[in-house]
């Protein structure tokens, strides 16, 4: 099943000459690891319909959840116990983080993309304004952002190795280091040495969205470009850790496929990786495709706010020490409540366009997606304080 609204003629055409999405391209280095097999096996065997309320209560009683408990927390039956789950998630969050909420903002430095992902605003067949900030412009943007008081920045590019190569991103990291304490990356997947290089330039956190862990579905959504190669993307976090990054972030775009399976796979992926690399810091992002309004019947794959909260709480209870970021795709009401329950990171003063933080930059690029929470850094800061949460600009030191 696929959400038909994202299909068009162009997509149909591509469907005929596709490459094997499980095969690496020549420039992609293979690392020795069995994590993907383990995750795929676990997801295949994850049957969320077999859980009962008993399994959910059992999970809620434990201090540390097993993958089996995590599966129960993500099950349809658990949705009926969402209040209890949220209560427990809140306690666990406070135990690990106190009332600290970390603030950051993304900076989009380029939106060129070589991939054809049929659901994404940046995809190479969309006729949008493309732009790439030059070094001076990056500096201006970062300076403007740092003046809002933020200490953490997330550098984003579209996925084009040609237009935004590793050196270019490295230069952006070096500039970021002058203005910020914490530098994260959300860029196309790299080889281990490339991650090591960007780590040397100042970055320490890498987030890669697998989008969906259902390889068959993945293949129908990512029609061309290097992103089409499923396993290379899957192993990005492990390569980043091997390259010396301190932490890695995971995320499925909930609603692309069966969100329960995708959320289970995301959590399990992080769990296995942290077991293998116990020092790695783990983070989750929780973007969702909103259910289509006026959809005449309720689809089991739809991710409403309740389902989103269920996923966020399940991540929290399964991986209590991980950071959870709540996207600006969500409105202020949802975000403020999520950080009161289980999320620990919130962006503020967000623009997903290029060059939007500085007026004098004229070569602005279009936005990747529309945001629902347009509050400034100060507005989010004040709102956290009002809700008895402590905004934290940095809890990190680059060593």
């Amino acid at each position: 099943m696929i959400n038909k609204s994202i299909l068009n003629e162009e997509v149909m055409k591509y469907n005929k000459n596709k490459t094997d999405h499980m095969k690496y391209l020549p420039d992609m280095k293979i690392i020795e690891s069995d994590i993907m097999e383990k995750v795929m096996y676990a997801v295949q065997n994850y049957n969320y319909n077999h859980y009962t309320e008993y399994h959910v209560y059992r999970a809620l009683e434990k201090e540390y959840c097993t993958p089996e408990d995590f599966g129960a927390l993500l099950s349809p039956v658990a949705l009926h116990l969402l209040e209890q789950i949220a209560q427990k998630a809140r306690i666990v969050t406070r135990k690990h983080f106190g009332n600290s909420i970390y603030m950051f903002t993304p900076i989009y430095i380029a939106n060129y993309c070589e991939n054809y992902c049929i659901y994404c605003g940046f995809n190479c067949h969309n006729h949008i304004n493309r732009a790439k900030l030059n070094i001076d412009e990056i500096e201006k943007e970062m300076k403007a952002i740092s003046e809002t008081g933020l200490q953490e920045i997330l550098i984003l590019t579209g996925e084009s190795r040609k237009m935004s190569d590793v050196n270019y991103i490295g230069e952006a990291c070096k500039i970021a280091k002058k203005y910020f304490k914490v530098i994260g990356l959300e860029i196309y997947p790299l080889n281990t040495e490339e991650y090591a290089y960007l780590h040397k330039c100042g970055a320490d956190y890498v987030t890669v969205f697998q989008e969906t862990y259902q390889a068959d579905k993945y293949e129908t959504l990512h029609l061309s470009g290097h992103k089409r190669v499923f396993p290379y993307r899957f192993y990005a976090q492990e390569r980043a850790i091997k390259g010396g990054m301190r932490g890695v972030g995971f995320g499925a775009l909930l609603g692309l496929d069966d969100f329960r399976k995708d959320a289970f796979a995301t959590g399990y992926h992080a769990y296995i990786l942290q077991k293998k690399y116990p020092h790695a810091e783990i983070a989750f992002s929780c973007p969702r495709l909103r259910p289509i309004i006026n959809n005449d019947k309720i689809n089991a794959m739809d991710v409403y706010e309740a389902q989103l909260l269920q996923v966020v709480c399940a991540y929290r209870l399964f991986m209590p020490f991980s950071n959870i970021t709540i996207s600006t795709r969500e409105c202020a009401r949802v975000r403020d409540n999520m950080v009161n329950i289980a999320a620990t990171k919130i962006s503020a003063g967000v623009s997903t366009g290029i060059g939007e933080h500085t007026e004098e930059i004229t070569s602005k690029g279009d936005e990747q997606f529309e945001i629902s929470d347009e509050r400034s850094v100060n507005e989010v800061y004040q709102c956290l304080l009002k809700n008895h949460l402590q905004p934290v600009m940095s809890d990190y030191i680059y060593v």
Partner: protein, 258 residues
């Protein structure tokens, strides 16, 4: 007067307060209610010249104890300690070396290595460790100013899970033993002090309390009470069978060789 001496400084309070996990605006009131003279802070949380900088919220008359949280090995800990000395102008360092993001258990081996380097550089090294007697001895030989065994995993509020092993350290190690991590209630802090711990460090127990500064005060009282009890000598427990009807030493009165 019963003074707590550490790194050449004298303190009246034996309560080391952690500053993480709660609102910055509560820090000052909390220190006052706790009567704390030493407060830990994570260097990585400082934001000099920026907003929400924890250093702006700590009164100047309190001894800062920067910790090396974020360090995953000895080398990183040493670098963070040096940076923290520059920023806080304090020679004190609470050494934390953790390479486990799930339980946050200390790496004793790397901690010994870092202690040796930092002690040579003149730091007052206060190493956080898993209570192991051999490691404690190595830490002393490496130049530590005290030993800080965990009672339970950080933030767990579980109390003195490692009680018997902490007692061994108290009995065998001549330097102050400061129980750090895991203390969840004033009664547990009191118990650690009764056992002979030189001081107690707590953070999450207070940060996650309903009323943060009231809980800080409760801890202060518990720690003082435990200390007084320790100094006065704990009363004997008379257990059943302790005074047997046919004494084992009765034969000594049979006066055969008198």
């Amino acid at each position: 007067m019963d003074k707590f001496i550490l790194g050449g400084k004298e303190f009246d309070s034996r309560f080391i307060l952690g500053s993480g996990k709660f609102s910055l605006e509560l820090v000052k009131a909390c220190i006052e209610k706790a009567g704390a003279q030493i407060i830990t802070l994570a260097l990585r949380r400082t934001n000099e010249g920026g907003i929400a900088n924890i250093l702006d919220y700590i009164p100047k008359n309190v001894t800062l104890l920067p910790n090396t949280s974020g360090a995953r090995n000895a080398e990183e800990a040493v670098r963070i300690a040096r940076l923290s000395r520059e920023i806080t102008k304090s020679n004190f360092v609470k050494l934390e070396v953790i390479r486990d993001s799930k339980y946050l258990l200390p790496d004793n081996y790397e901690t010994i290595k870092a202690t040796e380097i930092l002690a040579k550089e003149g730091f007052v090294v206060m190493p956080y460790m898993y209570p192991d007697l051999n490691v404690a001895r190595d830490l002393i030989n490496a130049g530590a100013a005290c030993v800080m065994p965990l009672g339970a995993p950080i933030g767990s509020n579980k109390g003195l899970c490692t009680k018997d092993f902490i007692q061994i350290l108290i009995d065998e190690i001549d330097l102050p033993i400061i129980v750090d991590a895991g203390i969840g209630r004033p009664s547990q802090a009191c118990e650690a002090m009764e056992m002979g711990a030189a001081a107690v460090m707590a953070n999450t127990a207070i940060a996650t309390a309903g009323d943060v500064s009231a809980m800080a005060e409760a801890f202060k009282k518990a720690i003082e009470s435990g200390r007084t009890a320790y100094l006065s000598g704990i009363g004997m427990t008379i257990s059943k069978g302790a005074s047997a009807s046919s004494p084992l030493t009765g034969f000594l009165h049979d006066d055969t060789d008198k």
